[in-house]
């Protein structure tokens, strides 16, 4: 199975994603420059974290018009899988691949921390190797991670099981204390209506190596392998 990892000017988690796919999952990955127009036969596209185009204007606003986004959008329209992490999530929202927007954290400051998310839906191509209700520890590193959307969209996301990850506290409860950035309903990750585009602010690709602690992010990559390769 081949993963295509897009590097925008300012991406800084692209090699972490490569490490997760190649060294930990044992699958193939190709690095795709944002000016390319060829996904090189990738089965899954990863839009990685970073500060694409300096986050100028709004995070993701300029990256969504990078040349390769035309092919990424066509891939998603065909039902191809896209994993959009952190800045990638911001880009996916700006590109209309996912609803809503990521705005300045509620507390104003940039947050670099390890947080907890609960798996709200384990019946997706990205989460089938998790148990629903499992609480995962993952790092976050963002200034604009507060998920917002008009109420009818939030209600639809909740009602359709498209809220895949939710911030929770140490007891596994979705409290204000457990919500680092003030996201609506503690939403940390959502999936497209067709189930093929997942966006999340936490960084699964940074917690895949047991050397660095519990590899809570690895099952996301294993889920994709199980579903896409099947």
């Amino acid at each position: 199975m081949r993963f295509g990892i897009v590097t925008f000017p300012g991406s800084n988690c692209d090699t972490d994603a490569y490490h997760a796919v190649v060294d930990m999952l044992g699958e193939e990955a190709v690095m795709l420059w944002h000016k390319d127009h060829d996904l090189q036969g990738s089965d899954v596209i990863i839009l990685p974290g970073g500060f694409a185009h300096g986050d100028y204007l709004r995070a993701g606003a300029i990256a969504r018009f990078s040349p390769i986004m035309r092919e990424v959008t066509a891939h998603a329209d065909r039902g191809g899988r896209v994993l959009a992490i952190c800045n990638g999530f911001q880009i996916a929202c700006e590109a209309g691949l996912l609803p809503g927007a990521l705005v300045r954290n509620g507390g104003q400051s940039y947050i670099c921390d390890t947080i907890r998310v609960r798996v709200e839906n384990a019946d997706t191509a990205f989460t089938n190797a998790y148990r629903v209700g499992a609480v995962l520890k993952m790092p976050i590193a963002h200034g604009e991670g507060r998920f917002v959307a008009p109420r009818p969209i939030i209600d639809a996301l909740e009602g359709e099981g498209r809220v895949v990850f939710r911030y929770v506290d140490a007891r596994g409860e979705p409290t204000a204390e457990g919500n680092p950035n003030g996201s609506t309903d503690g939403i940390a990750g959502i999936i497209s209506a067709a189930g093929n585009v997942l966006g999340l602010m936490p960084h699964p690709e940074r917690v895949v190596d047991p050397l660095l602690g519990p590899p809570d992010g690895l099952p996301m990559f294993e889920s994709l392998l199980a579903r896409v390769a099947a």
Binding site: L57, R58, A61, I62, F65, C93, E94, P99, G100, A101, V103, R104, N105, G106, G107, Q108, R146, V148, A149, P150, G182
Partner: protein, 84 residues
């Protein structure tokens, strides 16, 4: 003809604006107790070729729709159109 179009882009009413809150708090600390609400946005100035002022205004409106503003979270308002 060259026109200079200025546009205000602000967080939508109803969307929590933490920057605006922080500035309002600071203004209260400074004794500006009449301050009710502050929203912080962007002011973008575009110099563009266009046939008429209306055409310049429409062009910038289109730029806002596609790139300069995000309709999910922001409102925009053309502040001025002038010969540049």
């Amino acid at each position: 003809m060259k026109y200079r179009v200025a546009v205000h882009i602000l967080p939508r009413e109803g969307i929590l604006d933490p920057q605006g809150h922080a500035v309002a708090d600071a203004l209260h600390t400074l004794g500006f107790n009449g301050v009710q609400d502050v929203r912080v946005g962007r002011h973008v100035v575009v110099d563009t070729d266009a046939e008429t002022p209306d055409a310049a205004r429409e062009a910038v409106r289109g730029m806002c729709g596609r790139l300069l503003a995000n309709p999910v979270i922001e409102d925009f308002e053309i502040a001025s159109v002038a010969r540049a």
